[in-house]
Symmetry: C3
Subunit: 150 residues, 3 copies
């Protein structure tokens, strides 16, 4: 049996949403933790749930280490091994990076949720929120932020 300790309890009287616009320049990790923290602070959110949603099928979201940039490079190579460029895909309208981008999006996900407590994201010490761009060309990506709480 693991220990369960209460953190806090409150009302639910607000929901607010915003869009983060990100210009990407090729495959890679684009951190949005600072923008999220600034938004939470500016809106005076106290307790609640933050949802992050990526409205694209060839870019995705993850929470990963924000300390050593080598981690992101290794993660990109791992995704490249798991969903490689190959000639045998049926779908290749937009080039050899098209179908691998869809597979990588399915594996990493389009939405994530982070509780907010006492005005702060409950991210761990080394955690950052990232958009992962899976396409080669430059893209304009929209990430929706939504908060429900007080």
């Amino acid at each position: 049996m693991h220990t369960v300790t209460d953190i806090n309890e409150g009302l639910v009287n607000r929901q607010v949403s915003a869009v983060v616009e990100i210009c990407t320049n090729g495959q890679g990790f684009f951190e949005i933790t600072a923008e999220i923290k600034k938004w939470i602070h500016g809106k005076h959110f106290i307790d609640g749930l933050l949802t992050v949603f990526c409205g694209h099928t060839s870019a995705s979201l993850t929470i990963q280490e924000n300390a050593d940039p080598d981690v992101q490079q290794d993660l990109l190579e791992a995704l490249n091994r798991l969903a490689p460029r190959r000639d045998s895909y049926r779908h290749h309208y937009e080039g050899p990076d098209d179908m691998p981008a869809h597979i990588r999006t399915v594996l990493t996900g389009s939405s994530l949720s982070v509780p907010v407590s006492c005005g702060k994201l409950t991210l761990g010490t080394w955690q950052g929120v990232y958009l992962i761009e899976h396409r080669d060309a430059t893209h304009r990506r929209n990430i929706i932020l939504q908060f429900i709480g007080c």
Copy 2:
């Protein structure tokens, strides 16, 4: 620094849930976007959070491209390469598609969240919500929809 633009702000005074029943006939993608949109419209939801939950360990959820059906075929083959049928699994009670189905479910996920804004899902232009069936035989699958907002 990426641009953050507010979308809307509102109250939170309703939560509603429903179950979508899907009869599957073998491995594949089963789209439920139309059912979700109709439910949101019928309930007159304005702003809030839609959660979709799959109550099974051998079927899962994803958001992917709804334009070219070849994408789904390529995704199924990618999942087949990542979690292949093999003789060496310990768990094979229900046949050679049993354990690969559990692995594919872990990789793709059982829940997802989509913000609702001004009465509409904030899905991108090419995004659809799908149940992925990982088993060969016909199954009856239950997907829970839950809305919190106004």
Copy 3:
């Protein structure tokens, strides 16, 4: 067209959060379903949304079968094949299990959502909620539970 049936409708007047502390002793699945159910029961939650969040970059969350323990063993081996230990990672500060742990976390995810209905998690018959520990050494892991509803 799939069948959609309403489950229930209610108010949203409470949010409560707690932390589950788990001491892990090497790679494996650590179930927290009993702790979550006990917490929901103790707080008298009726309807709403439970969010589970893992505040670490080398441990993650999943919902999987809780009947046959062989499933967990097969899943660990599958994750080992998908994100193997290898000499070629750039990031290896904390040993050969360091970078594979990050990759496995990205593939399986840091947050999940489960609707609560009539005081019960809407988990399917065979579903359990698990922390997956990806590191070899013992670790103290914090999982945040958050409920929004009534």
